[in-house]
Symmetry: C2
Subunit: 492 residues, 2 copies
């Protein structure tokens, strides 16, 4: 795209000015419609160093009310200091419904620069391109309007601008070493940007703007933006269709086939618990030092024993290196964003363990059954979740998912027990009883979930928990086994 | 406190164990009452390196349901890399109502270490002690239960523990250089901790625990915690009384005395605007390089022209270095925390400009008049806000506050104009009309606010905005003047 780019012919100044003013008026009129229709809008502005990205954004926002937009410039750290997955800062910054977010450079610049600087391998770079494709599609399917712009200037023009900036004491600090390096490697960058844009041009197309004629570029950007908003206003929020992606899946039994009889003797339990917790504590040190992030996901029937199971895992861990994230119903600012947002923003840093007490799988269970999202939304979610988890394991994370299983009789017994024990009553809500009535529908949804999302890289484990002690020991063993493998892999 | 510390006598093991178990039971029973009563609880655990803080927290939380607590270990960066005020990470982490937050080391350790390392001057250190006093009192007055613990070990014991950790490959990384240095300077630290604790012992007392007898320390901590919760449950949420602090105040006129007749000619306006915006753009570079944070606060009548005024300020600024924060009614997760929390978490980084479109002064205007907080709350808020802003200017921030003033007739005219202009209708809500009916009450509240919070360090400026153009030029001049002074001060 860049290598074939032809600058626009010079235009009539008066006409250009009038056109730009009319587009600004239009954007001004659109801003409150965006809010009314609850459309979230993402504008990614990539481009060459010194192409004028900052001034372009200034110009685009100059008339918009600050209640309607934000600008974000994610900090790109040296790869070895990155503590979160590649897409983390971009996902964390997505706008809520009815707002516009301007990204002042973004995921392309980060991936390309790190790749060319050899901070990441070719394989990692490819994984990032795939993650970007998934990121953009997921957001589009979730109703986000996305505009991707590249502000282009020629090698010669870039040289001139960088030299001018460096000549002046007040502006020389604006030229970073990386900018100088980019200029020296202009052709390599151009080729790599081009290849990246080719690979990510569908379904959200790129638009190259002429950074050498700022007025034309601003007019063009305003035109693209207002057209995009028009489309969104006309067609309403887009809901992506379910799609199939091939993931290597593990064969899972149906819940009805699970044998819930296993138990453990009390003495054996105590002995094993002590031994396993000691081992887990040791491994925590190792994963901390090797900076391996660990994500443990708990789902299960009400009263299945998730809480007690989690406590047996976290007890031997240094609290500075572990977080338990209880997931309740989303708050308004969470509902107003992509459903994965509240999980992206809760990810652990490298070397840390995060235990999710309930997870993103709410999408295909409670949200599905209670109608909190559309059918297309939850049907699409299986593949979206598999993508999300693959992005996590690509990052180096250990992702383990536990379904804590009990039978209906055991649940009833535990509910009754809770009801009759004053200090446990708070644990039992009307909702628990209502959910219990829908046991068959839930079981169907859970079976489907286990079939469709138990990937090789992020597998499900069914934990028989009629005997809670048996369940705890089994979970501890699985966690230890996975961490040992992860540490060994690191040593290879 | 440390220098006079006497270790406890050895206790009967069986009795200790039984006592601890009983206290754990009690805490378990309290956890859902905390949620019911919406009590927020802060537990600060300070102590010597290798005193066993992590293991103490593990032990305290081991039975608590993860839905009720979190642990935070704020990262202490080298002073020159700190981009936020000293208290920022601690304020950002305060729990919401009904939850417990454990701080694994906190504000004392950060202040003392930096002071002894000479990262901060004695004057800065004193300012931090004062900030801590204010922080703790503000939270207490806002209904937070606070427990401050210091885990103590002797110099000899610390030496033994550090040596043991360093002997073992798996644990040697746990001994940081700072820990070794602390051990070498044990006596200096002990004196400084003691002095700090003396100065911050009221109204929230410190408790020193014996880190050499872990079982006793855990029992003692559990006892203190459960007693504190008992008190809170019994007496309910504490509401602090209004108090007087002496701040150097600037004399402000009453709104009714303000002459709203000033205007500016259109040609003069355009010339001045261009000149001033150019100058402001230049100054943005300077404050960015000198890392001066800038906080501009806008308050004013509905339709006074805040939005347009703000846009004239932000237009010449690089969008990467400025954020406009529109403040609407708080969301549930914001209401559930101290009223200053949502402003603390929106502060700019050093070198950045943040424009607040409405501010924390909502407390003494809309919240006061609509009864969203108690009388004691808003009466206390004047001093709390002065403290907050002094903490910001102590940090080095330029804080300017603008009251955008119009008269009632002008407002009516602008409301009518909005009503009759389709693309402006969204700006006018029923609430605006309702607020208008309360003009006299608001005027009284605003007058009181201006009298009580226009401090020398963070002054109010009344901006006559019957002529919006005049208002914009006046505001720009004030901002430029203040930034020039701040830059000059930096050069001294």
């Amino acid at each position: 795209m860049l290598q074939k780019f032809k600058p626009a012919k010079s235009e009539d100044k008066q006409a250009l000015k009038a056109e730009t003013a009319a587009l600004r008026e239009k954007l001004l009129a659109q801003q409150q419609l965006i809010r009314e229709k609850k459309l979230p809008i993402i504008i990614l502005l990539e481009g060459w160093a010194a192409a004028g990205k900052g001034s372009m954004i200034s110009s685009l926002i100059s008339e918009i009310d600050p209640r309607f937009y934000n600008v974000v410039s994610p900090v790109i750290r040296p790869e070895k200091e990155e503590r979160y997955p590649f897409l983390y800062p971009y996902f964390a910054a997505i706008p809520e419904n009815g707002k516009i977010m301007f990204y002042d450079a973004g995921w392309m610049d980060s991936a390309v620069s790190k790749y060319l600087r050899r901070d990441i391998t070719k394989k990692e770079y490819k994984a990032r391109i795939q993650a970007v494709q998934e990121f953009e599609r997921q957001l589009r399917d979730g109703g986000y309007l996305i505009l991707k712009l590249f502000l282009h200037i020629s090698e010669k023009e870039q040289g001139k601008r960088l030299a001018a900036l460096r000549e002046n004491y007040e502006t020389e600090w604006r030229v970073a070493d990386d900018d100088v390096w980019q200029h020296r490697e202009y052709n390599t960058f151009a080729e790599t940007y081009d290849a990246f844009m080719d690979k990510t041009d569908d379904p959200i197309p790129w638009h190259v703007l002429d950074g050498e004629d700022k007025k034309v570029a601003v007019r063009d950007a305003l035109k693209l933006l207002t057209d995009l908003i028009d489309q969104g206003l006309e067609k309403g929020r887009y809901v992506g269709k379910p799609f199939k992606e091939k993931f290597p899946l593990k064969k899972m039994p149906r819940l009805s086939e699970v044998d819930l009889s296993p138990t453990i003797e009390d003495a054996e339990y105590r002995k094993e618990l002590k031994k396993l917790q000691k081992r887990l504590g040791e491994l925590h040190n190792v994963i901390y030092r090797r900076k391996i992030p660990v994500i443990l996901c708990y789902e299960g029937w009400d009263a299945a024993g998730k809480g007690g199971n989690i406590r047996r895992i976290t007890k031997p861990l240094d609290p500075r290196g572990v977080d338990v994230m209880p997931i309740a119903s989303p708050e308004p600012h969470e509902i107003n964003r992509h459903f994965l947002w509240r999980f992206w923003t809760r990810l652990p840093r490298t070397g840390h363990i995060c235990v999710f007490d309930r997870t993103w799988y709410g999408r295909v269970m409670v949200e599905r059954l209670e109608g909190f999202c559309s059918e297309a939304d939850w049907k699409r979610a299986y593949a979206e979740i598999n993508e999300f988890e693959r992005q996590l394991t690509d990052w180096g994370a250990v992702v383990l998912k536990f379904w804590i299983q009990i039978d209906s009789d055991t649940q009833l017994q535990r509910f009754t027990d809770r009801q009759n024990t004053p200090e446990k009553q708070w644990k039992l809500t009307d909702e628990d009883w209502r959910n219990r009535e829908k046991w068959p529908q839930y079981e169907e949804a859970i079976d489907e979930m286990l079939q469709k999302t138990s990937t090789e890289n992020a597998p499900w484990f069914i934990i028989e928990s009629n005997d809670k002690k048996y369940a705890r020991i089994k979970t501890l063993r699985i966690v230890i086994d996975a961490l040992e493998k992860a540490c060994a892999k690191y040593e290879e």
